[in-house]
């Protein structure tokens, strides 16, 4: 059974999630990829305010296709997360509690997740047409010049994601394949 999750995501809730949990996320999340993360971290370094409340926020690593007339958003699946590894720890330290992406994360990110209580969700890569359907509203927040990489506020309903790495550092990319291979023995 999937766990219903509300975003923004409190640290308390983030800490209850475990690697392998299937979740359906509803509420408000933010989009950001490489270029937007770089700018956010430059603001942090200069001590300036971020364009949205980072506390308890869930950031979706996505650069959607343009919406057709009548669409809220185009295809919108996750991008590979390790490119955000240089930036995620600083944002987690400021209170970000969730990340949605796909693929491995570096030790520096996992340490920050453990220290501050954050969780890394995986969405299915290459399923942008399907995942776009869970996005009900989109609003530009910052960096319009970045095009598909601009920061947007999304309202999502029952967005399917699996907890890949939890706040204790347990990692489904290690335990999942290991459990499968054990069964196949």
């Amino acid at each position: 059974m999937a766990i219903a999750i509300c975003a923004p995501l409190t640290r308390e809730t983030a800490r209850t999630l475990r690697a392998g949990d299937s979740c359906l996320i509803s509420g408000t999340i933010y989009t950001a990829r490489d270029a937007a993360h770089k700018r956010l971290c430059e603001l942090v370094e200069r001590g300036e305010a971020l364009p949205f409340d980072i506390r308890s926020s869930v950031i979706y690593f996505v650069g959607p296709t343009p919406e057709k007339p009548g669409q809220v958003i185009g295809s919108a699946g996750p991008t590979t997360s390790y490119r955000m590894d240089a930036y995620s720890p600083a944002l987690i330290a400021l209170g970000q509690t969730g990340m949605i992406g796909k693929g491995k994360r570096g030790p520096e990110v996992i340490e920050a997740m453990k220290a501050h209580g954050a969780v890394y969700f995986g969405a299915i890569g290459g399923c942008g047409a399907l995942l776009g359907k869970c996005i009900k509203k989109r609003e530009l927040v910052a960096y319009e010049d970045l095009g598909a990489e601009a920061i947007c506020r999304l309202e999502v309903e029952d967005f399917p994601a699996v907890v890949i790495i939890d706040s204790l550092g347990s990692n489904l990319y290690e335990t999942g394949p290991a459990a499968y291979l054990e069964k196949e023995k």
Binding site: A35, G74, S75, G125, G126, P177
Partner: protein, 279 residues
């Protein structure tokens, strides 16, 4: 000598960009279904079902299968008895520009690898031309996403590394990539030629339908052996475990130098897209 105008090329490239991005080739759909039939791990089965649902939505609603609509790789086979009037390379880029604009595809190309300013129209294309007999032009558009492109690798092996060296390098590349390139993947392998030729062969291997084996029985067997070894790794769909790590291994080989054994591995995701038209 048959005359073709560059505008005709533009129109075809534009159409192929949209069609390739919204409609997964039939051979890929069948291979995903076969993999689902053989898959026993519940999490893996669920992901393969979602992947199927996704390309069905894309088909019905003409939506991009994946939001990474890629860099447009365009392969032209130009008959030597065709005369093209106008600027061919510009005509191809114009086709990409129109296809990505009119098809609501994502513009993912930056003008310089270090200053990283988006060109805004997904140009330029990556263009390869081959001269062949005849008076026709075969145009293939293969949009290439970079989640999988980034997990690709090339190595100049020693001839003494031999067959085992090639196999080890291919399997290790897929293993190291793990969940990053959106498995189940299609693995394009180029063996031989020069440094650049091997990479080109690996890319070209991804254009061959996944149900068509290499023409040489030796390399066809190697494709099957590599696929079995990769699917014994346990990575599974999206890296969460399971049998289906790769849907296919396609190899292209070429003569090489007495001192060399280049091997390139170009990984593609489960959205291995390409569309061809002959004019």
């Amino acid at each position: 000598m048959r005359e073709l105008s560059a505008q005709q090329i533009t129109a075809v490239v534009s159409r192929l960009c949209v069609e390739a991005n919204c409609h997964l080739p039939q051979d890929m759909k069948e291979r995903i279904r076969e993999s689902l039939d053989r898959e026993t791990w519940p999490a893996a089965r669920e992901i393969l079902e979602r992947i199927t649902e996704n390309y069905e939505i894309a088909d019905t609603e003409n939506l991009p299968i994946c939001q990474d609509t890629g860099m447009a790789c365009v392969f032209l086979k130009i008959g030597q008895d065709v005369h093209i009037t106008g600027d061919l390379a510009r005509a191809v880029d114009e086709g990409v520009r129109r296809g990505y604009r009119d098809g609501y595809l994502r513009k993912s190309v930056v003008r310089d690898p270090l200053d990283r300013v988006n060109t805004g129209d997904n140009t330029p294309a990556i263009l390869y031309c081959e001269i062949v007999p005849g008076d026709r032009v075969e145009i293939t558009v293969a949009p290439k996403g970079f989640g999988s492109e980034n997990m690709s690798a090339i190595k100049m092996l020693r001839p003494s590394d031999g067959l085992q060296g090639v196999k080890d390098f291919v399997v290790r590349t897929v293993k190291d990539a793990g969940p990053n390139p959106c498995p189940p993947v299609v693995v394009g392998v180029g063996i031989g030629g020069t440094f650049d030729k091997a990479a080109y062969l690996a890319k070209k291997a991804l254009l061959r339908p996944v149900d068509v084996p290499n023409g040489s029985p030796f390399y066809a067997r190697l494709e099957r052996e590599l696929l079995d070894e990769i699917n014994a790794l346990g990575i599974g769909p999206q890296g969460l475990g399971g049998r289906t790590t790769a849907l296919a291994v396609n190899i292209e080989q070429y003569p090489t130098h007495i001192a060399g054994l280049p091997v390139a591995v170009n990984i593609n995701c489960h959205v291995t897209r390409h569309k061809t038209e002959v004019i």
